[in-house]
Structure formats: structure tokens, C-alpha cells
């Protein structure tokens, strides 16, 4: 311990600019690994969710980029129902819509997002409640209360059986929702085009939609929902007819992507993205390790005298190695702590921002994929530590004692 504190005070801190630079480089390596692992797992989550749609007969609708500025309120109500009747008559289809927010009392005073889905989407999505019963869709708006699932965060205020009287933007009137089940913590939905961010359902309400609900909903909601329809039992011909029907009625172009096109999308996007993350991380990591080794070698170059004098008065190479490993272990532990605390702080800020879609739970502030990131940091740090320490010791062994002392 005495040797160690001597080493830190007289050698490590003597050239503090070099030590701090080394700490910064190693910190950036840790951030890189942590972010890469987290991105990889989020991408993997998105891939798993999308692969449920990768089946024969499934066509995902997509507004053509040429109609990007299409106004959902511009379509006449009777023309909307025409398209809906056509879809309802000819296809099995999944509907899903999220974006509406309501204000109901809850422990974190969050605005609560509403997630609408029909039975087909619910079956496709595999959304399960942790406690409670299955969601049912054959309710009547007039006589029944709407059965809903609530996110884990709302379970304190709204346990199973609780009733929520609120105005639903899609219907434009007050209805009574009855809690049927509570979702498990961190239930989420991947954003298909921004995989680094997930929409968490911790403070959301899942509302089942049936034909009656859909027919009574306002026009903007109907158009918006239909633009993201997933056709489950389509063929190339039938969806092209549907596309034509939508074009005739609404004067916009909607594309329906087939399984083959989805496959290409998977290859081009998800798998390619995962490969890209791995390759770039390895390249950046190699650069950071190279620069850190250069920094360590510079350190040895400047402190030849200190090292050789210490070796001359009794410090062995073995002991020097032990001290070096100890000091790197301290640096890496501090770095891992900094990265973990930073990540936990981001989660706290997400909660404080009252944005329900980004509020997620974690053990000691970190979600499960982030704990994997911490594990990856420990593994890679051990590797970097061994490489740098061995380089330093090899370099020191090369210095002739007489030259070192004379300098």
C-alpha cells in the first residue's frame, strides 16, 4: 500500500497532464463500448418486433414520400368510410395508432399517452399483461365500459378494476375506461425509423378498438390509423387494388410493402446497422487503444529516471506490474462509475421531463441492456488494461539502468 501511494503521488501525478489525457481517452473508450452495446440491443429489439411482420401475406402500408405533406383532416368523412368498408370487406387487417395524450391524475403527474389497437394488432404484437385478464374487443360503446390495459407506472393509481372517466380525443367525448390488466415494467414499442429510442408504455393506456369504436371516431383519427394499416392476408394483386382504391378516394399514393420488400428492408437496415455498429466500434476502439499506448509510452519516456531509480533501490518488475494493474483498475472503476452515473442521470432527466414515452425503469438506475453494457465495459477494460500495462513494462525493461539513472 505504501509503495502504491508513493507511485500514485510521485510518478502518476507528477506528470498530471499525461495522466488526465489517458483517463479521458479511456473514458471515451468506455462511453463508446457502452453506447455500442446499448444500440446493438435496442436494434435487436426493433429487429425482433419487425420480424413478427415478416410473414407471408403481410403487407405494411406506407405513405409515399411524394405525399409527405398530406393533411389528414382534408378528406371528406364519406370518402373515409368508403375505404374502410373496402378494407373491412376484403382483408384481415391490423390497426394501430398512438400519439394522443390525456391528463389524468397519477403519481408522477405525467401526461398519459393513449395507444389504440385492434384485435389483429394485439395478437400480432404479443402484448401481454403482467397481472389481469386478456384484453377483449367485443364491447359495446353504448352499454359497456371500455376494457383497457395500463402501464406499470399507472398501477398504483389505477389498479385492476379501477375506472377512469375521461375524454378520449379520438372519440371527442367522455367515456369510462375499466382497467383490465397491468402491463409489465418497461413494455415498449420500437420506433421503426429511430431505433435508438423506444416508446415505453409505463404510463400509457392501451385502448382496444373494434368496428363500432372506429366508426364513431373522428375523421383525422380514421385517416391517420388507416395510413398505417397492416394487411394480414393480402396478395400482391389485392393490395395493389386497395392502393388504387385509396388513390381514387383520397387522391394520395400509399405503398404496401410485401414480405420480400420487408426482407430487403431488414437486410438493408437492421442487420446492416448492427454490422456497422460492430465494425465502427472496433475501429474507434483500436484508434483509442493506439493513442492510449502512445500516451503511456510518452509517460515512460519522460519518467525514465524515476522508474530506474525506484527499480535500483529495490522495486521489482513484478511489483511494478502489480502497482500498474492496481492503478489502472482504479481508473477503469472510476470510468465505469462515471458512465453508469451519467446513464442513470439521463434516465432521471427523462422522468423529470414528464415525457411518458421515454420514462423507463431500471435496477439501480440502469435498464437490463445497460447492465450488459457495463459488463462489456468491464471485459474490454480488462483487455485494454493488460495491453497498456504490458506495453509500459516492456518499455521500462528496455531501459538500461545506467542510462536511466544518468538522465
Amino acid at each position: 500500500m505504501k509503495n502504491f501511494s508513493f507511485f500514485i503521488k510521485k510518478i502518476f501525478l507528477k506528470r498530471w497532464i499525461l495522466s488526465i489525457t489517458l483517463i479521458f481517452f479511456l473514458l471515451s473508450a468506455n462511453f463508446l463500448i457502452f453506447t455500442a452495446v446499448r444500440s446493438l440491443f435496442l436494434t435487436r429489439g426493433g429487429y425482433d418486433e419487425m420480424s413478427r411482420l415478416n410473414k407471408n401475406g403481410i403487407f405494411v402500408s406506407n405513405l409515399d414520400p411524394s405525399n409527405a405533406e398530406f393533411d389528414v383532416t382534408s378528406v371528406e368523412p364519406k370518402r373515409i368510410n368508403g375505404v374502410y368498408d373496402y378494407i373491412d370487406k376484403n382483408f384481415k387487417y391490423a390497426l394501430h395508432n398512438e400519439g394522443d395524450l390525456i391528463t389524468i391524475p397519477n403519481d408522477k403527474s405525467m401526461d398519459v399517452p393513449l395507444v389504440y389497437m385492434n384485435k389483429e394488432y394485439y395478437d400480432l404484437n404479443g402484448l401481454k399483461s403482467k397481472v389481469g385478464r386478456k384484453l377483449y374487443f367485443d364491447y359495446s360503446l353504448k352499454s359497456d365500459k371500455i376494457p383497457v390495459f395500463v402501464g406499470a407506472g399507472l398501477s398504483k393509481n389505477y389498479p385492476i378494476g379501477a375506472e377512469i372517466k375521461t375524454e378520449i380525443p379520438a372519440l371527442g367525448r367522455k367515456v369510462t375506461l375499466k382497467v383490465q390488466g397491468i402491463l409489465k415494467k418497461n413494455e415498449c414499442h420500437a420506433n421503426y425509423y429511430a431505433l435508438n429510442s423506444m416508446s415505453y408504455y409505463n404510463y400509457s393506456i392501451i385502448i382496444p378498438i373494434n368496428k363500432e369504436f372506429f366508426m364513431k371516431a373522428n375523421s383525422a383519427f380514421k385517416v391517420d390509423t388507416m395510413l398505417e394499416t397492416i394487411i394480414i392476408n393480402g396478395s400482391k394483386e389485392s393490395v395493389s387494388n386497395l392502393s388504387k382504391e385509396i388513390h381514387d378516394e383520397w387522391k394520395i399514393k400509399v405503398n404496401f410493402n410485401s414480405q420480400k420488400e420487408n426482407n430487403e428492408f431488414f437486410e438493408d437496415y437492421y442487420l446492416y446497422r448492427m454490422r456497422l455498429i460492430v465494425i465502427l466500434t472496433i475501429i474507434f476502439l483500436a484508434i483509442i487503444i493506439g493513442v492510449s499506448i502512445w500516451n503511456a509510452v510518452v509517460c515512460v519516456r519522460l519518467m525514465k529516471k524515476d522508474f530506474t531509480i525506484n527499480l535500483l533501490v529495490g522495486m521489482s518488475y513484478k511489483e511494478l506490474k502489480k502497482i500498474l494493474y492496481k492503478s489502472f483498475a482504479i481508473i477503469f472503476t472510476l470510468n465505469i462509475l462515471v458512465v453508469s452515473v451519467y446513464s442513470a442521470m439521463c434516465r432521471v432527466i427523462a422522468w423529470k421531463s414528464k415525457n411518458a414515452l421515454v420514462a423507463s425503469y431500471g435496477f439501480l438506475g440502469l435498464a437490463s441492456n445497460e447492465w450488459l453494457g457495463v459488463l462489456a465495459m468491464i471485459l474490454v477494460d480488462s483487455l485494454i488494461g493488460v495491453i497498456i500495462v504490458e506495453c509500459i513494462v516492456k518499455r521500462i525493461k528496455k531501459i538500461p539502468i545506467s542510462l536511466g539513472v544518468m538522465q
Binding site: A194, Y272, I277, W294, R301
Partner: protein, 153 residues
């Protein structure tokens, strides 16, 4: 003959010039490459990752510019004896500092010119390189004030 005299007057050896040149090139070219990425036609996955790198541009550049700080620091510490010996044989502190400034600026100037030329060829925004140039000039000025520290052994 004049050239030979100048080389011997300089504190920089060939290895130092190469090492410092590499540090400058690493920073300038990383900045150039990040600028170039903005103009590339990338697919969705590449664009997302490129955006992440672009958003951390300043941080990456500052981290890499630490290489230059480390170089100057270790360079002056190593040259301690040489500076003292030069004073013993009649060189003056002022001359040495001016020579040091001249040499540093030459190395910085030449790497900067190469970088500007590359940016000019690819029609990229030059602002980032100017900021870096100012930052490095500041480093050189600060480090030149350190030369005096080694006047006494």
C-alpha cells in the same frame, strides 16, 4: 549552408516533426472527414450513425487535440537539458523562443494548408478548420511561454 544552420538551431528533430505532424493531421482530417460525412448520400442506417458522430464532433475534436497538448508538454520536458545547454553556449532565450514559435507555426501551417486543399477539392465548409487553427495557435503560444521555465536547470 543557411539551411543547415537553421536545422541545427531548431529544437525539433525529424522524429518530433513527424510525431507532431501526425497529431495535427489526425485532428484536421477527422474534422474534414466529419464535414465530408454531412455531404455523403447515405442509406438510413448509415445516416443515423453518421448523425450520432456529427453530433459529437466538437467532443471528438477536443479529445484528439489532447494529442497535441501531450506532444508539446512532453517535448518541452524532454528538451529541458538542451535548452539549458544552448544557453550555456551562447544562445539567448528570446532567439530560442522565436525559433520554437517559427518551427511550430511552420508545421501547423503546412498541415493546415494540406487540410484546406483537401477541403477545397471536396468543396467543404472551412470554418471548422479555422477554429482548430486558432486553438492550436493558442496551444503554441501557451507552450512557448513554458520555454522560459527551463532557463535555469
Amino acid at each position: 549552408m543557411k539551411n543547415k544552420k537553421e536545422v541545427t538551431k531548431s529544437l525539433f528533430r525529424k522524429v518530433d516533426i513527424v510525431e507532431l505532424g501526425c497529431a495535427y493531421i489526425a485532428v484536421f482530417f477527422t474534422e474534414t472527414f466529419i464535414c465530408y460525412m454531412k455531404n455523403l448520400h447515405l442509406n438510413l442506417a448509415q445516416r443515423e450513425i453518421a448523425e450520432q458522430i456529427i453530433s459529437h464532433k466538437v467532443l471528438i475534436e477536443l479529445l484528439l487535440s489532447l494529442l497535441v497538448v501531450v506532444f508539446y508538454y512532453q517535448f518541452l520536458v524532454r528538451k529541458k537539458t538542451e535548452i539549458f545547454c544552448r544557453i550555456l553556449v551562447g544562445d539567448t532565450m528570446r532567439e530560442m523562443t522565436v525559433q520554437y514559435l517559427k518551427d511550430s507555426m511552420k508545421i501547423l501551417g503546412s498541415t493546415f494548408l494540406v487540410c484546406v486543399l483537401v477541403k477545397f477539392v471536396f468543396m467543404l465548409d472551412l470554418r471548422g478548420s479555422y477554429y482548430l487553427l486558432c486553438l492550436f495557435m493558442l496551444f503554441i503560444l501557451i507552450s512557448s511561454s513554458q520555454v522560459h521555465r527551463y532557463e535555469k536547470f
